[in-house]
């Protein structure tokens, strides 16, 4: 398997690797996994009062394409409203990274991770609405 230059770039210099405090009210944590290859991906977003994602980080155990997909997504969601972040489609990720068909599931994983992170954030906010 030969990786595209963009995949290699993200793989060798992953952006925003790390973790936020999971219990922070402004942090949404999305955890997803792909049984076919056993990859696990954690994406976290930090959302400000205006509903804008001001920071994002990830931790992925998987192949180069999965690491690159999640690394790219952390860059893309930063500065976006959560609504706009949800509009990111796996096809855009796959196109940007020039993923081959067998690696499309890695981009799907990254898209699902955004959704899971936003869901987690929204659940936290609705659970403690008066905190704002």
């Amino acid at each position: 398997m030969t990786y595209s230059e963009k995949v290699l770039d993200h793989y060798e210099n992953p952006r925003n690797v790390g973790s936020f405090d999971k219990s922070d009210e402004n942090v949404g944590t999305g955890m997803v996994g792909a049984p076919a290859c056993g990859d696990v991906m954690k994406l976290q977003i930090k959302v400000n009062e205006q509903g804008v994602i001001e920071d994002a980080c990830f931790k992925t155990y998987g192949c180069g394409s999965a690491i690159a997909s999640s690394s790219l997504v952390t860059e893309w969601v930063k500065g976006k409203s959560i609504e706009d972040a949800l509009k990111i489609k796996n096809s855009q990720i796959a196109e940007e990274l020039a993923l081959p068909p067998v690696k499309i599931h890695c981009s799907v994983l990254a898209e699902d991770a955004i959704r899971a992170a936003v869901d987690d954030y929204r659940k936290k906010q609705s659970g403690s609405g008066e905190a704002q």
Binding site: V32, G33, P35, A36, K42, Y61, C63, I67, H105, L109
Partner: protein
């Protein structure tokens, strides 16, 4: 020779359609079929019949390889029962299990320079794999709960993956563990 059967692999070896397997019975049935349909034995037959013997031999080996491999066997069993496991589907709902996976991966990273920690982690994961396989067997054979079985099978795929990674690490002592050819 008769036509290729399009029934499940279990029928080919006259085995019960279930997850728990009599490995000796599978091995014996496989060897008997192999002997019967080996291409060498068709050498004196017509080209058509030789081709058919080859198809049979291939079919027998494919079925054998599926049945003797627990994860492949479970997937086949679920398919026969109309509940195919979709391994391409991502799991986000199984949050607790994914958190466990993350924790194991982190522990594996930390254990890279510590042989004792690595051995302890390997044991923990072996135990978990055994428990998952037992639960899979119960769901398939005792409860006929194929949705639950599919869940256990998806989990087992993750566990198999980290087992393979530990084995690779133990043998190569390579550094960059996040790189894997999935």
């Amino acid at each position: 020779m008769s036509e290729l059967p399009d029934q499940g692999h279990f029928a080919l070896f006259a085995l019960p359609v279930r997850f728990r397997l009599d490995e000796a019975a599978l091995g014996a049935a496989w060897r008997a079929l192999q002997a019967q349909f080996h291409p060498d034995r068709a050498a004196h037959l017509s080209a058509v019949e030789q081709r058919r013997a080859l198809q049979w031999a291939t079919r027998i080996n494919e079925a054998y390889n599926v049945l003797r491999e627990p994860l492949a066997r479970a997937a086949h069993l679920l398919e026969l029962n109309g509940a195919p496991v979709d391994l391409e589907r991502n799991v986000g709902a199984d949050a607790e299990f994914l958190a466990q996976q993350m924790q194991w991966r982190e522990a594996l990273e930390d254990a890279r320079s510590d042989a004792n920690a690595l051995a302890a982690l390997a044991r923990e994961i072996e135990d978990a794999a055994r428990e998952q396989q037992d639960a899979l067997a119960r769901a398939c054979d005792d409860q006929q709960d194929y949705a639950a079985a599919a869940q256990w099978l998806r989990r087992l795929h993750f566990t198999e993956r980290i087992r393979a990674e530990i084995a690779r690490f133990s043998s190569h002592r390579m550094t960059n563990g996040t790189a894997a050819n999935c």
